[in-house]
Symmetry: C2
């Protein structure tokens, strides 16, 4: 075996695929390194560089130049050591969390070549790492632990409403293959996202696997659809070619035949036909973030009596044009169709209408106004407020919380 290893390794060295970045002067570079005191060290070999920074939302802020002018962003300067390797250690121990970062070398963003763990958000890639202090903290919840794992399927389904075959991600709980029926959570992404967003950025499988293993969530099927009605699937996964994804809609100019909410019956019909689901509203939940929060709002009122559990995460409630500016209360009250739909929805007494948002979210005011509308109409809801804003850190927390409240 050793001989083969040597021969194959030699051959590999000679190929393009060999990663010389992670090796420097024959040494393996370890980055990030989580130190015993809980601080984290980042390292990059860049002997010719003048300025190397590491940027991440957990690091002290710095000012950078962007096409939109000077902006404040995260960034800490690395120090150059004699061997041409730059390094930076955080000032404090980091709290449990999934962190993202990247390097910036003389103005050019660079992923950490020593860290193969990366995620994409629209067109942006970042490295990730997880800090866990103890069993059950949020870092632990986002970690792949030694617990039973659910399967994650990329499924093509027919959407007669949109006139296309479309892709979605379906998680089945670890016990699914033993038989039985399971409740279903529909989990929706935000603008710029797709059916890969919750599995990757949202750590859906890890959160649900862990909560099930801890007895904190019921075993459930989780359906993660693509909320861009003009796209069949994530970028590169459908016949539109290798286009550059954009924030809204992915494909400029393409016009869908229907909205995501109008077409959502196709998703539910498919899931109920092909998976062993427990039917009825007490076994059906829906939640989503940002644009997916809007979709959750729109779908839940379009299909009253379908869902007992409805979760709006940092929801963009106000999607259409309005004559009422930012006054959602006035807008909704003036909109006879929407008013009637919401009335019909709340007449079904959903067990949980859950609104979650961060204090600094740019949609905070919008959500406050929407809550006033609900209050005025005596529509019951639960409210969950966190720090910070419109970020995945919050959405992972919201999923973790919401998943523990449903099907009980």
């Amino acid at each position: 075996m050793k001989k083969l290893l040597f021969v194959l390794a030699l051959a590999l060295c000679a190929t393009f695929s060999f990663a010389q970045q992670a090796l420097f002067s024959g040494q393996q570079i370890k980055s990030p390194e989580i130190n015993p005191d809980g601080t984290v060290t980042f390292r990059l070999a860049a002997p010719k560089a003048v300025l190397v920074k590491v940027t991440g939302d957990f690091l002290p802020k710095a000012k950078i130049q962007t096409p939109f002018g000077e902006m404040e962003t995260e960034g800490s300067a690395l120090m150059k050591e004699e061997n041409g390797v730059w390094s930076y250690t955080t000032e404090k121990a980091l709290e449990p969390e999934l962190y993202s970062y990247k390097f910036n070398v003389d103005g050019i963003d660079l992923l950490d070549p020593a860290n193969v763990y990366r995620t994409r958000d629209i067109v942006s890639f970042v490295n990730i790492f997880i800090i866990t202090k103890e069993k059950g903290d949020c870092g632990d919840l986002y970690t792949v632990n030694n617990v039973p794992h659910g399967n994650v399927n990329r499924v093509w389904y027919d959407s007669p409403t949109l006139g296309t075959k479309r892709r979605m991600t379906i998680y089945t709980p670890p016990t699914y293959e033993n038989g039985g029926n399971y409740p279903v959570l529909y989990l929706l992404h935000g603008a710029g996202g797709d059916e890969e967003a919750w599995p990757a950025l949202g750590r859906q499988a890890q959160i649900i696997d862990n909560l099930i293993a801890q007895g904190k969530a019921k075993p459930m099927i989780v359906v993660m659809t693509n909320g861009n009605a003009n796209c069949d699937a994530a970028p590169g996964e459908w016949h539109a070619g290798m286009y550059t994804p954009s924030f809204m809609g992915h494909q400029e100019g393409a016009q869908a035949k229907a909205t995501t909410e109008e077409a959502y019956k196709d998703v539910m019909n498919y899931v109920e036909k092909h998976y062993r689901v427990m039917k009825g509203k007490k076994n059906t939940a829906i939640c989503g973030l940002s644009m997916g929060g809007y979709h959750t709002y729109a779908i839940s009122k379009l299909y009253p009596g379908k869902f007992d559990y409805i979760g709006l995460f940092s929801a963009a409630i106000q999607m259409g044009q309005s004559n009422h500016g930012n006054d959602i209360n006035a807008q909704l009250s003036a909109d006879a169709t929407t008013s009637a739909q919401l009335k019909a929805l709340f007449a079904t007494n959903p067990k949980l209408y859950w609104i979650a948002i961060g204090k600094t979210d740019f949609l905070y005011e919008q959500n406050t106004t929407y809550r006033k509308f609900l209050d005025n109409n005596k529509y019951p809801y639960e409210y969950f407020e966190t720090g910070e804003g419109h970020i995945w850190k919050n959405w992972r927390i919201y999923l973790s919380e919401f998943a523990q409240k449903i099907f009980k």
Copy 2:
């Protein structure tokens, strides 16, 4: 909708996730651009850089410094334009193929920030793009076309032989959900790979979707296992944490309870229990590349009568210690167990024992010697030789060829 777009876009600009790299001076940078004449232009904004190269195996060679000394590698210099954007256009039109490349800026490897399409090979990331000239060429075969798509599931199965739950990727053909039983192809990766290798680098779903749509391959289930017996799953997907993958075994020091070939019965038992498979050797095929070619060789002789179709792609035949140097013929002849196993295998008259390799593959001589052994023993096989060496370009071709030969 426009208003929401504006508000959300503004918010997004202020967040860390905004990718300023793909925008430069307010302009979208297009890279790679496939020009009307078939040449390809690569662009990178790097106003402060001194030397920007693009490296890829389709580009003229250059010399680089590595930890192992100076090596010849691919690389073409980009020219700096007045606006700080560097560019390079290939001298000739590129032939149909899936190409990979990355940039090198003043000695530091950098992925193309304008191209979100990337693959990982062990610890190396590259950007990819596809050139297609006409329907049916290999570029077309690797493209997601407007044809019915199979589902791709990440499945956890129990391996009593290894004493662990393990992850594999299972492709079901587009018609699978309509019912019926299907033949099964077991498709194995090489050293350093995992159950994500064939789906990503090998374009398995695209190749099989397209071949089925063209009527060139039978609808089949494709099972892509993890050939590292000491790992439960791909890096980051199991409880070993976010470790750095390595070429052999991923996890130094860990010792598996059994070999991949010994444990393969667990895979087949699972698949035959949980999927609607057509059983019997005429409906069962196995193939693999490099280390997976060895596994194919080892599994097929360990389970004689199980497979009618056996494909060795650039196979590392000689895995164990040998007293016979590189003389596989002598080694195999002297090994009573192996000789008996191969005799038993060929006594079942498999319909196809297919050996494929590239002319410059470092395992070429080893495969030649193995073919001599088969000739000497009058064990029938088919031989398929291509140009070039131990690369994914060849393995995609071999899968495309092999898939058209099986279950017929």
